[in-house]
Subunit: 510 residues, 2 copies
């Protein structure tokens, strides 16, 4: 058994392990400001990669980026009752615009009280709806499809880094369409962007499906999500897409003249993915040595660590490393130039190696005087860190051979991380449960990390649904979604015994 780089294993204490990865991989830290984190360079670098790749996809499907105000007047929220009910309990409210000194302390200036308090945006449907109402006059302008990258604030009592913080970063897409069908279709196409992005770029297999009524976005007619399985068997909602009907169009007066000259309300959608994705990446790809970052979203894909000994060979080692870096930087892998770093910080080579292992750089290349003499490099793949004997699987390769193979190796690592996660997801969804007792038993007796179940239900609404939600809540379970690619129902509802309407995923979740 290898001795691992972290002091807590996933098996021992998943929550502690998660926290340790975040610290040891320099992803984020507590900021001293309640509920807000500092995203450190490696964590932010991963987020920037996510932004770049997702942004390309959002733009390629015809959305334009814009920027809307951080502050939303209270009156905007009052217009849409259901929406405000969903958010009012957790918003930061700006009430003053100046501070003064009073008894040696700074306090909000009573003379600078705002006439109308401003809410720090928890999401931007209302303020973007107001813009849509100004912009949209005729069917000719539809669809309007925009997106913004922004910070949002939802006051949270219990926070966890990346997963639930008072301030977080996200992308929010907003669109308006001439018909319900167009809008609904668009919401599904946004979901598909998320599915393919999560799987292709983050190597995160997901289940795409519709949320049950009780989990809809406040004000939405329908909400879809992608759900990923973490290594502790819990689900993480990694992105959501909403068909908003005419809810916001009615509240914000978004109307257009149709081709017959009559006025209609527009049909709107919204969709969002956030820094939560980084938390998901950690819990899906991390191991007991730290993070493993899929090459497509790794800020550095290859890190070269020169093994210097304060001796005169150091110069030859360094120049060999510089040449290697230049060669690798010429390569293309997975349709982008390879991102390669030569780490020359004044830190010992072994500490650097383990630092990059914990950060999860896909390939770590060590170069010492002996490698230089033999024209070699020592290559460590982060997805195959140890040999079966528990020793580090560092492979000595001829330098030109490594350069020739580096692109393929990166593609292969991307693929292998995806496949590991895929088989974990596929292997941990129990589909054979046909009654509530079975469900109960599965989660009570299914071990520490039981996974998910897919069961059939009658798609109840109202009080019946509320009862189902309560029964699940007692087991700390929630309905994740109705998988789009599940076969049609053919049995009975495990909650009511009635004829089932569809299949749902039930799981513990973040």
């Amino acid at each position: 058994m290898p001795k691992h780089a972290l002091s807590v294993t996933r098996e021992d204490d998943f929550a502690q392990w998660y926290q340790q990865v975040i610290t040891e991989a320099d992803l984020a830290e507590e900021s001293g400001v309640r509920g807000c984190m500092v995203i450190r360079p490696w964590g932010y670098g991963i987020w920037e990669r996510i932004q770049r790749l997702l942004d390309d996809r959002i733009k390629a499907t015809g959305h334009d980026n814009c920027y809307f105000p951080l502050f939303i007047p209270l009156s905007y929220f009052e217009k849409e009752a259901e929406h405000v009910d969903g958010f009012a309990k957790e918003m930061a409210v700006v009430t003053h615009h100046r501070l003064i000194m009073q008894d040696g302390r700074m306090v909000p200036d009573p003379d600078a009280k705002l006439e109308e308090p401003l809410v720090v945006r928890p999401t931007s449907e209302t303020v973007i709806g107001a813009a849509f109402s100004r912009w949209i006059k005729s069917w000719r302008e539809l669809p309007v499809m925009i997106n913004q990258w922004a910070n949002v604030v939802r006051w949270e009592m219990r926070t966890r880094m990346f997963l639930r913080t008072s301030e977080f970063l996200w992308q929010e897409g907003h669109t308006a369409h001439a018909s319900a069908d167009d809008a609904r279709e668009h919401a599904l196409s946004s979901l598909e962007i998320y599915r393919s992005f999560a799987e292709d770029c983050v190597a995160m297999p997901v289940v795409a499906g519709e949320k049950p009524e009780n989990e809809r976005f406040p004000g939405a007619d329908a909400t879809w999500s992608i759900e990923a399985m973490m290594q502790d068997g819990k689900a993480l909602q990694a992105g959501t897409s909403h068909f908003l009907g005419t809810t916001f169009a009615e509240a914000q007066n978004i109307r257009f003249q149709n081709s017959e000259g009559n006025f209609e309300h527009a049909w709107t959608t919204s969709f969002g993915m956030s820094t939560r994705m980084v938390g998901g990446l950690i819990m899906i790809h991390g191991d007991d040595d730290g993070l493993r970052v899929p090459p497509r979203v790794a800020p550095w894909q290859i890190v070269i660590v020169p093994m210097l000994r304060d001796q005169h060979e150091d110069e030859r080692v360094l120049s060999y490393c510089h040449e290697l870096r230049a060669q690798l930087a010429q390569l293309t892998a997975i349709n982008e130039p390879v991102r390669v770093l030569l780490d020359t910080k004044p830190v010992k080579a072994a500490a650097k190696r383990w630092g990059w292992v914990k950060k999860g750089a896909p390939i770590i290349v060590e170069v010492g005087a002996r490698d230089v003499a033999g024209g070699n490099v020592s290559v460590l793949r982060r997805d195959r860190l140890y040999n079966e004997d528990g020793k580090l699987a560092s492979e000595i390769m001829e330098r030109h051979d490594f350069v020739d193979r580096a692109s393929d190796m990166l593609e292969n690592i991307q693929q292998s991380l995806y496949e590991q996660a895929r088989s974990r997801l596929d292997g941990n969804i129990e589909r054979g449960i046909t009654d509530f007792a079975g469900l109960e038993a599965f989660f009570n007796e299914g071990g520490k990390y039981p996974g998910w179940v897919e069961v059939q239900w009658c798609r109840p609404t109202g009080d019946v649904l509320a009862g189902v939600v309560e029964r699940l809540k007692a087991l700390k379970l929630t309905i994740r979604n109705v998988p789009m690619d599940a076969p049609p129902a053919d049995g009975d509802c495990i909650f009511t015994g009635r004829k089932a309407a569809e299949r749902i995923l039930v799981a513990r979740a973040y």
Copy 2:
């Protein structure tokens, strides 16, 4: 004389003209939220180009991107008196974290009052200083060089789009160093990033220099700026770099152990550039037909407008345009792939052409059935819109010839916009004034858009400086900076008659 696309000319009313460009080029609009604007797709696209190019330069010089909290506890500000004096009068203060319904209206919940109010960051020295204090232990970790892209809020009573808004977007770099010399040198290197970025990418010639004492950033030991000349002769501060001494290190306890094992305060710097740059770009490159965007920061560099007539040739025109687009997208100009759009929106071709003229796309290519038949394209360069006879300078070129020349054309437009601005700057700095009466006369009698003056002064401090600032203020003038490349002083101070110490730029400014 051509009839121009805007109804107000720069000569008529510069402020009105500026506003009209913003509206007609779809750059931004009022949001309905006091002091905040909506940045629309074309405006945001320019900002994204600025971000991308500036970010590359900031990263290439060793800065890592991070993200710090939006909210800053009041106590952080109280630690640094001078800093808070500079900002306290204009900050948004969050006092509550929940809303409730009261008498049918939403109000901040008195039970959810924060124990310590939170300030929406006007800048992040204090919260980043707190992080530096956690991160920095030893000289080995220095320098620490980070950057963040963020929104900040400074409550403004009078706002003007892009130039002065309560919320704006910016980049703020923050560094810590082991010595005063290192920090000062770094602050100057950041200024050089700004100078070269403004000139090379935004085609905006600037004067780099140190700000006088009264214009320093609150808490800084020295502040440098780049200043650009707008077409109305006013100055725009387009970026600033600050040497902060140990002010923030002392307030936030940023200390390190030096190589002898003793503890010292670190020396810090910060530097920022904001969405103000977009305002500067408008006022430096816009003309009476709208905006002209330098190719390096244009979201689309070439826009193809198919001239469709709802006839059967339309299909041939469109397929010709698609081929042309594909050919152009293969090209590289100014070290990047050419950004080319085929505009297929259901709008008349003439309206599209003028829309893109007003937006300032560098090259507009029109393609009609006759062009297709002849293998031609009609090319309009935005920097040379009219012939001398006042007619549109649309040039018919063979398609392959245009494709061959498009890259050069874009480089040439970039260069020509820079040169126009350069000769305006060089031609409008008066250097012959040797007394205050001359200065007064220059601005009172120098016409509508007088430009700048470079004069000599004794670099006064304290009350004498305050007196100088007052005298200038009466003329609506400010000292912009001490140009770094100006010759040494060789005369007398125009304010005091004493021997001069250096040369300063005096101007009206935004």
